[in-house]
């Protein structure tokens, strides 16, 4: 009897667990994309990619947002609700800023007369756009989650101190951050 009870001890909330499996799934998608990139790179007519400076700024932004979301979680656990809400909004804004900076970065290619899509485009730059774009969509998903949590936090009628939703969102947020760092290093290395 004691043995079966000990088997029942669950260490992780099912929703958090689901997120980890989802992270594995998203990783497979980017593994597919980056290995396609590697295959393509070894073939003819590959162009060396020059990463514009703007991508460094966006990287710094998303790194900063990871710090703020962690601080928000800390604030929530200490019940510093005003601080918590403020940090939550800052994180979401940084997330949007990241996407804006990415778009600005891609616009700089156009200024250099490099075509990302359409006639005369080269697959190397198209890959950069497609992979970063799909990553951006994932960041956007995180922003939506943060906004939903922020609205709930600002709405005084539903007062919830459960840190679970934010813990899940924060884990996801760190993941898309780490994913971008991986992609950034990948693009710089594998040009």
């Amino acid at each position: 009897m004691n043995q079966v009870i000990s088997e029942q001890k669950r260490k992780i909330h099912p929703h958090k667990f689901t997120l980890w499996v989802a992270i594995g799934s998203i990783l497979m998608m980017f593994a597919g994309l980056t290995s396609a990139y590697i295959v393509k790179r070894s073939q003819a007519s590959w162009l060396m990619i020059e990463i514009p400076m703007m991508f460094w700024y966006s990287t710094a932004t998303i790194l900063a947002s990871s710090v703020t979301v962690q601080l928000a979680l800390k604030a929530l656990k200490k019940r510093e609700m005003i601080n918590y809400r403020r940090l939550l909004v800052v994180t979401a804004v940084l997330g949007v800023l990241f996407i804006v900076l990415q778009i600005v970065g891609f616009r700089q290619f156009a200024a250099q007369d490099i075509r990302l899509v359409g006639a005369g485009s080269n697959a190397s730059y198209s890959f950069l756009l497609a992979i970063s774009g799909i990553h951006g969509v994932h960041v956007l998903g995180g922003v939506v989650a943060l906004v939903v949590i922020a609205i709930r936090a600002l709405n005084s009628s539903t007062r919830s101190y459960s840190s679970l939703p934010l813990e899940i969102a924060a884990t996801y947020w760190h993941f898309v951050d780490a994913l971008w760092i991986y992609l950034f290093i990948f693009f710089t290395w594998m040009k």
Binding site: I12, F17, T18, M29, A36, S45, S126
Partner: protein, 607 residues
């Protein structure tokens, strides 16, 4: 611990213990639900499972009908059927199926049956209905995500269905949608708008199956009832678990391949395109690689085969054991072989690409890994046969379909050994031998698993039985018909008859098979008619079938038969039962069956 007793049909009485229930919200009390929340936007796993099943049935009728149409063309290439022109207009001008229409039909037949019926209809149905019932949970880890999973599937269905009605027709480049054909609208009618619809529909479908798969994994790993250790789970649960893992890891790769294809189609990129001339027009694309798509596609495509097959393997194992009144032979070997198939599924994708110019040295590894799949497959067949051996077999419709499944799995598996050899594949690739192989081992076999599951768990789903007479007619005609359709194709395939041709009558080497083709087409129509009989039986029995009178009509051990005949949302009216033993204590200690909820007796050893 408080305990109350419930009866189990057969004289068994088990105590049900209260324990820390996973979901604290009390589902015991019947609360009024609106039509919308009960039947449409339901978060109850049982209702979602039924939604998947009925949507799958509708798709199966459409996909099956398409095969009847193109078999009509293949069997009677000279004949003219004016009714076809009345129905399909320019697609069947003069009462004959046009080439474009033929390609559209085979493409949609493949897409619909592989994805919409045998993926969503099969694992969507049985994962949803069985997981919480068999592991002892109130519902899935996230009922809302589960609901979203169905509605994304529904959206995908709507988009795919809409693509059948657009002016240029649905996608028609084969279900594998290889570029450059699928990437260039000017290449064929079906590569125009229909192809975009196909890709959008598949993207929605992938989202649906990921949402579902995440939930299945999380539920099985986290929400098992007290005492339900992993090795006490019924084999259906193991099979569905591995299916979900395969889906979660392989579908995203298809999605990335599809997104790149969408880029190539609509944004003029060159991921897959290089140096192409279409109808005299020189395209600007250069530097792309069409083979890249095949790698991305088959990295999903091969696991997809097992996503289709694995749930059938699991359900067949369970149904065989219940209806042989014997424990499953080699439980751990069954789990181990499922695991081995799951791993190998990711390592064999290039056997679909032996003739693409793949390095023969590399091909040798893929041959070896492909042939290795024969080992776990043979273990499974051996264990099924030894489970049947000297069993007290009850030939229920579910049992017959399970035995039929084993037959098909063996016949189809053996031809896999031929095709897995890269040297033989030079001759056999793209012939009817391939068509025969995958239809038997993946198509019909998985359908048999699905039918077995429907016949076996229908009483749990609707509280009524399916009609047995219709079920037996369904079984025998389908089994004999499947062999009569696909067995002859092996011969024409060995003779080199290629797939995807609408008409061989002017082709000297192959018009000798015309009579055989006519025979196959005739049988295909009879088999299709019998499937309609099954559909009739299904819907008729929902309302008029014989009522189930005991909670455990099959005398099975698993937890779903401890619920009321028509379980409400939350499954068990009281506490979730506790599990004390594995699911396969049949004919033990002079007892016909001992449910999982019964504590281990003083003279028993633990499982």
């Amino acid at each position: 611990m408080s305990s109350e007793t419930i009866s189990h049909g057969h004289a068994a009485e088990a105590s049900v213990h209260s324990h820390d229930s996973h979901e604290a919200h009390g589902h015991d009390h019947h609360h009024e639900e609106s039509f919308l929340s009960k039947y449409v936007f339901s978060t109850d796993h049982k209702m979602i499972g039924k939604q998947f099943l009925i949507t799958g049935i509708i798709w199966a009728i459409i996909g099956g009908l398409f095969s009847v149409l193109f078999r009509l063309q293949l069997g009677y290439p000279e004949a003219s059927f004016p009714i076809l022109e009345d129905l399909f207009g320019k697609w069947a001008a003069g009462g004959r199926i046009s080439n474009e229409f033929y390609y559209a039909l085979v493409t949609m037949h493949g897409t619909i049956l592989v994805f919409f019926v045998l993926t969503a209809g099969l694992s969507g149905t049985f994962a949803n209905i069985l997981i919480p019932l068999q592991i002892g949970a109130r519902d899935m880890a996230s009922g809302f995500m589960n609901m979203l999973s169905y509605w994304f599937f529904f959206l995908a269905s709507v988009v795919m269905f809409a693509s059948l009605f657009i002016q240029t027709g649905p996608a028609s480049g084969g279900w594998t949608i290889y570029p450059p054909l699928s990437a260039l609208g000017q290449a064929s009618e079906g590569s125009k708008l229909g192809m975009d619809f196909w890709l959008i529909s598949m993207a929605l479908f992938i989202v649906s199956s990921l949402l579902g798969g995440l939930n299945y994994i999380s539920t099985i790993l986290n929400l098992r009832t007290k005492g339900m250790s992993m090795t006490r789970m019924p084999l259906t649960m193991w099979a569905i678990f591995f299916t979900a893992v395969l889906g979660v890891l392989s579908f995203p790769v298809l999605l990335s391949g599809a997104v790149l294809l969408l880029f190539d189609r609509n944004l003029g990129t060159s991921f897959y395109l290089s140096e192409i001339v279409v109808k005299g027009e020189i395209l600007p694309n250069e530097g792309g690689s069409a083979i890249l798509f095949q790698h991305l596609f088959w990295f999903l495509g091969h696991p997809e085969v097992y996503i289709i097959l694995l749930p059938a393997l699991g359900m067949v194992s369970e149904i065989l054991s219940v209806n042989s009144r014997k424990p499953i032979f080699g439980y751990l070997a069954m789990v181990g072989s499922l695991f081995a198939i799951c791993i190998l599924a990711f390592l064999v994708w290039a056997h679909h690409m032996f003739v693409t110019g793949l390095n023969p040295f590399l091909g040798a590894f893929f041959v070896l890994l492909t042939l290795l799949i024969a080992v776990p497959s043979a273990i499974k067949v051996f264990n099924w046969l030894t489970t049947l051996w000297k069993g007290n077999i009850r030939f229920t419709p579910g049992m017959l379909f399970s035995i039929g499944f084993i037959s098909l799995f063996i016949s189809g598996g053996l031809t896999g050994i031929f095709l897995g050899n890269s040297t033989l594949d030079i001759h056999l690739h793209d012939t009817y031998f391939v068509v025969a192989h995958f239809h038997i081992v993946m198509g019909v076999a998985s359908f048999f698993g699905m039918f077995a599951g429907v016949y076996h768990w229908f009483p749990k789903m609707y509280g009524r039985f399916l009609n047995n007479t219709m079920a037996y007619i369904h079984f025998w005609v389908t089994l004999v018909g499947a062999y009569l359709i696909f067995w002859p194709m092996h011969y024409s395939g060995l003779a080199g008859m290629p797939r995807r041709y609408t008409d061989w009558s002017n082709w000297q080497s192959f018009n000798q098979f015309q009579d055989m083709n006519r025979f196959i087409s005739t049988v295909a129509m009879i088999v299709f008619a019998v499937q309609i009989l099954f559909v009739f039986n299904f819907f008729y029995s929902i309302f008029k079938g014989r009522k189930v009178t005991s909670t455990n009509p099959w005398g099975a051990n698993t937890l779903e038969w401890t619920t009321p005949i028509n379980p409400g949302h939350g499954n068990w009216p009281g506490d979730i039962p506790e599990v004390h033993r594995w699911a396969y204590d049949y004919s033990k200690d002079g007892r016909e069956f001992i449910p999982q909820t019964e504590p281990i007796g003083a003279y028993e050893s633990k499982h």
